[in-house]
């Protein structure tokens, strides 16, 4: 049957001098918007946050755009999700715009993950080799413990590494 709704979300990250520029856009059947966040590295401090709503139900939706300024000088780290939800989403703002800000943050983190994988990982020949590699990776990134099936209790990467979550 013919499709009734489509959504296309696109994220990109570009390196600038001492910072990264993260862009998130959404284009769906009813709504179109984009957000651009510049983040200083390695501090992960937000230097600027801009956006535009190109298509929405109400002209009033545009009132959420200036709220993006409130993200400036925050640090992408623990607690920022709650803060952005309160400042840019909810009854004073737009949840769709806040969601694009989260997508920008996610893209920045994944940009560094991709770099780490590209530079340090080589395709393991055996499971033993992979375990050794993953145990080292978990030691460097303890926040990943219990984050997914590869890093939960019982995974070979956990069993071998004897990690304990604090």
């Amino acid at each position: 049957m013919i499709v009734s709704y489509t959504r296309n979300k696109h994220l990109t990250v570009r390196d600038l001098n001492g910072s990264v520029l993260s862009r998130a856009s959404i284009n769906d059947t009813f709504f179109e918007a984009e957000v651009e966040v510049e983040v200083k590295v390695p501090e992960l401090e937000i230097l600027s946050a801009k956006g535009q709503i190109k298509r929405a139900f109400f002209p009033e939706c545009q009132r959420a755009i200036p709220l993006l300024d409130k993200a400036v000088s925050m640090r992408v780290g623990p607690g920022i999700t709650r803060t952005i939800k309160d400042l840019i989403g909810g009854t004073n703002g737009c949840n769709r715009l806040a969601d694009l800000v989260f997508e920008c943050f996610d893209a920045v983190i994944l940009r560094f993950t991709a770099e780490q994988i590209r530079n340090n990982w080589k395709k393991p020949e055996t499971l033993e080799e992979e375990i050794k590699m993953q145990v080292e990776y978990l030691k460097q990134n303890p926040r990943l413990l219990d984050s997914c099936i590869a890093y939960i209790e019982g995974s070979p990467f956990r069993t071998e590494g004897q990690f304990k979550k604090e």
Binding site: S4, R7, N8, F30, F57, A64, S147, I152
Partner: protein
């Protein structure tokens, strides 16, 4: 030069009057995966789900496909839906699958909420106002969900809706 790029593509297809299928694809520098989820109205329960992982980072990741079935029986209308999906599909499986599932379900909710919009979007303001009033009165979860639907917003005052 780009150092990271991600695309998430969702389509929603009606299978019959009360059943919808959401198809989602995630493709980025690290991962490539897709899923199909079937949701049945009026209780918006997930009745079937399947997925594929084409590009992953560890030999354990593919096991997350089997965890997708944890979502069967969940209702998108459950206020704890996101928390449950993050736990039983995300942390017990794959966070990116969980995000794709939530994106698909959110897309379906957008569709069923605003399905009548196409018929009135080019009509006069009285017809549009009647559409919004009916929608907001029949969809309480929209009220106070954003600044436009907040108590005392110009729209709510104009439509005479009090929560």
């Amino acid at each position: 030069m780009l150092t990271f790029s991600r695309t998430r593509l969702i389509s929603v297809e009606p299978l019959d009057e009360t059943t919808f299928q959401c198809h989602g694809i995630l493709d980025d520098y690290i991962y490539n995966m897709e899923l199909d989820v079937e949701i049945k109205l009026p209780d918006f329960k997930i009745t079937a789900i399947s997925g594929k992982m084409k590009r992953i980072t560890t030999s354990e990741c593919h096991k997350a496909v089997g965890k997708l079935k944890n979502a069967i029986g969940l209702s998108v209308l459950d206020p704890d839906f996101e928390t449950k999906v993050k736990r039983i599909v995300g942390r017990q499986g794959c966070r990116h699958f969980a995000d794709l599932l939530m994106e698909g379900c959110d897309s379906l909710m957008q569709l069923v909420t605003y399905v009548g919009w196409q018929q009135v979007s080019t009509k006069d303001s009285a017809t549009k106002d009647a559409f919004w009033k009916k929608l907001l009165e029949s969809t309480p979860r929209l009220c106070n969900s954003c600044s436009v639907y907040a108590d005392n917003s110009p729209l709510m005052k104009k439509l005479g809706i009090k929560n």
